[in-house]
């Protein structure tokens, strides 16, 4: 067992040093993605509809969608997302020359909600989390998958090397030397949410299984991956007939679907929420009415009814078979699309705990390198700068992203980049600047970047009030709970970051300030 602990200790250290910076980025963006739709509403004020108002409006889909459908025509796939509490708009998504395009309509009037363009939560933060926005040959997905496996290896090896797991659950000695306290915090944040930390990378891998195992899944289908997906999701790709035909009523199809599902599930929480239109306007048109995001269940996308677009007759019905249901349930644990505010906030704080786990792991490694009489060499300075940039750096870059969103004019354009892209440039350049700052200032950068985070968070909240008038009191009065909560969260972040900055400014670790001081102050520490 001792030899196993030693080898796992080596694996844990090596994998941690190599992967932690990117893992923190994944965890940070993933944590924010819990509230990606709320961030959308904050960053795109045109989407700020009160969920109470949207719920009251009985929307005739035929009427509200007619102008947009006339414009978009017979694409192979158009996705209509019906309004729900976290996203009170009617959303239409489609591929426009390989680019995923999203448009929002007011569900009551059908008017398109236009305004300053922004990738916001669902367009920037959420995809960053699983692909780092690297789309070249799908490399981003593979990096995410590699990191997910690394995370599982880190968790497994971390559990194996612990001698006193139960004691460590409750051990936090902040009064002891910084290195011991850091390790205590690392152990505690790992253990207190361990099932959560294990579940997320594993279910993340399950979600992308078709990307990582393309050969294996196509084997029983003679190499035809399309056939695999058609069987798994109960869909069939549709070819255009080439002749136009009048389309049947979407409202009728929705009502039929709802009645059939309710008959099978009298508790009545099964409602259609996504409609796929295939070749709308063509004689071969198909309409798939799906229940993808159940309100009170975890498993996603289990019911689909496909209608003929011209006659409105039911062509096929699909209910997910057992393994697919289990997979959908496990994926649903990761996607958290169900309606449950308590759980959603728990996921958020669990994610923050994961971020703390990764950050304290890196910090502990940094402190160990110095105290083991190796002193601080160039590799140490590089690693310390990388750590600061990976932790406080990406957080303050996110703050800059929010501030830029409030400051950039609607028609902003620079060197050919549109407004949404410019916001991303601000994020990227701020992150680079944070790295440069960390290289120059080393340990002092921690406190200084915390001040910047506090500043950006406060500025973002104030700018929201100044530019949209939806400060927390006004937003609350209008029923815009997501906007009010985000502003309050930003203010809380400013306070926490400010307190952290003050604490760090007063006691910059002697171990990490400069080489000579570090060596002079090194005490022999018991081996961990």
């Amino acid at each position: 067992m001792e030899a196993f602990r030693r080898s796992m200790s080596g694996l844990h250290t090596w994998a941690g040093v190599v992967c932690s910076a990117l893992l923190f980025a994944m965890f940070w963006m993933g944590t924010l993605s819990v509230f990606d739709r709320e961030i959308d509403q904050w960053m795109k004020p045109q989407l700020r509809l009160s969920p109470d108002v949207a719920a009251d409006a009985p929307a005739s889909l035929d009427r509200t969608l007619q102008p947009l459908l006339a414009e978009l025509g017979d694409r192979s796939a158009l996705y209509i997302y019906l309004p729900k509490e976290r996203e009170p708009t009617l959303r239409v998504g489609y591929d426009d020359a390989e680019t995923w395009t999203v448009r929002h309509l007011d569900p009551a009037t059908g008017a398109e909600l236009t305004g300053p363009d922004s990738l916001a939560g669902t367009g920037f933060i959420f995809p960053f989390h699983f692909s780092f926005h690297i789309s070249w040959v799908g490399l981003g997905y593979w990096i995410a998958g590699f990191l997910a496996m690394a995370m599982l290896a880190l968790l497994a090896s971390g559990i194996i090397i612990h001698r006193k797991i139960f004691a460590e659950f409750f051990t936090f000695r902040p009064d002891r030397k910084a290195r011991r306290a850091t390790l205590d915090l690392h152990n505690m944040t790992s253990l207190v949410a361990l099932p959560f930390h294990v579940m997320l990378p594993l279910t993340g891998l399950f979600i992308f299984f078709s990307i990582y195992l393309p050969w294996s899944i196509a084997l029983p289908f003679g190499g035809d991956t399309e056939a695999f997906f058609d069987e798994m999701y109960g869909t069939k790709t549709v070819e255009a007939a080439g002749e136009t035909a009048p389309m049947a009523s979407l409202d009728t199809m929705l009502a039929i679907a709802e009645a059939r599902w309710r008959a099978r599930d009298p508790d009545g929480t099964v409602r259609p929420d996504v409609i796929e239109l295939h070749r709308w306007g063509d004689a071969n048109a198909r309409v798939s009415v799906q229940q993808v995001f159940p309100a009170r269940a975890i498993a996603m996308r289990r019911q689909t009814i496909t209608f003929d677009g011209v006659t409105g007759a039911i062509l096929s019905e699909y209910t997910a078979p057992p393994v697919r249901t289990a997979h959908a349930w496990l994926a649903g644990l990761h996607f958290i699309q169900f309606d449950h505010w308590v759980l959603r906030w728990l996921y958020f704080f669990g994610g923050l705990t994961g971020c703390a786990m990764i950050a304290t792991g890196l910090l502990f490694w940094l402190r160990s390198r110095v105290s083991r009489r190796r002193g601080a060499d160039a590799r140490f300075w590089a690693m310390q700068a990388t750590t600061v940039a990976s932790v406080t750096g990406i957080i303050l870059a996110t703050g800059a992203f929010l501030v830029a969103n409030r400051l950039l004019p609607e028609d902003a354009s620079f060197l050919g980049e549109d407004r949404a892209a410019l916001e991303v440039w601000v994020f990227a350049m701020t992150w680079v600047a944070a790295l440069q700052h960390a290289v120059l200032r080393q340990a002092a950068a921690w406190g200084e970047q915390c001040w910047v985070i506090a500043g950006f968070a406060l500025a973002a909240a104030c700018l929201n009030a100044a530019t949209t008038g939806d400060h927390p009191l006004a937003a609350g009065a209008a029923g815009l709970w997501s906007v009010a909560s985000l502003d309050l969260a930003l203010l809380a972040t400013a306070v926490v970051a400010g307190l952290a900055a003050r604490r760090m400014g007063g006691s910059t670790s002697r171990h990490t300030r400069s080489p000579t001081v570090a060596v002079a102050n090194t005490n022999p520490e018991p081996a961990e």
Binding site: S216, F221, M232, R324
Partner: protein, 98 residues
């Protein structure tokens, strides 16, 4: 760690990560084909096998960084990968045309 020389470590990393991935794909393929052959629907079979292959990969990683002998991990990992891929291909229907 079982070795101190950087080159051997790099080799171990490649064997474990690349070979382990090949083994995972082979296991998912063989498992999926096997389950499909005994009557499970194709999509169900590969889905189950695919999900099980991830914990398998984790096990390979842990073992691969513990076992001292590079030769043993290379033979075991690549050997198992080759065998599972071969059997999966043997069981699979011929490739669809077009």
């Amino acid at each position: 760690m079982a070795t101190t020389r950087p080159l051997l470590l790099a080799l171990r990393i490649v064997i474990v990560i690349v070979g382990g991935y090949a083994l995972m794909a082979g296991f998912a393929g063989l498992g999926g084909m096997g389950l499909a052959r005994i009557g499970m629907a194709g999509s169900e079979a590969v889905l189950l096998a695919a999900m099980l292959s991830f914990p398998l990969y984790l096990g390979v990683i842990l073992w691969g960084f513990h076992e001292r002998s590079l030769r043993r991990i290379a033979l075991t990992i690549f050997g198992s990968a080759a065998v599972s891929v071969a059997f999966a291909l043997a069981l699979a229907p011929p490739a669809a045309t077009g």
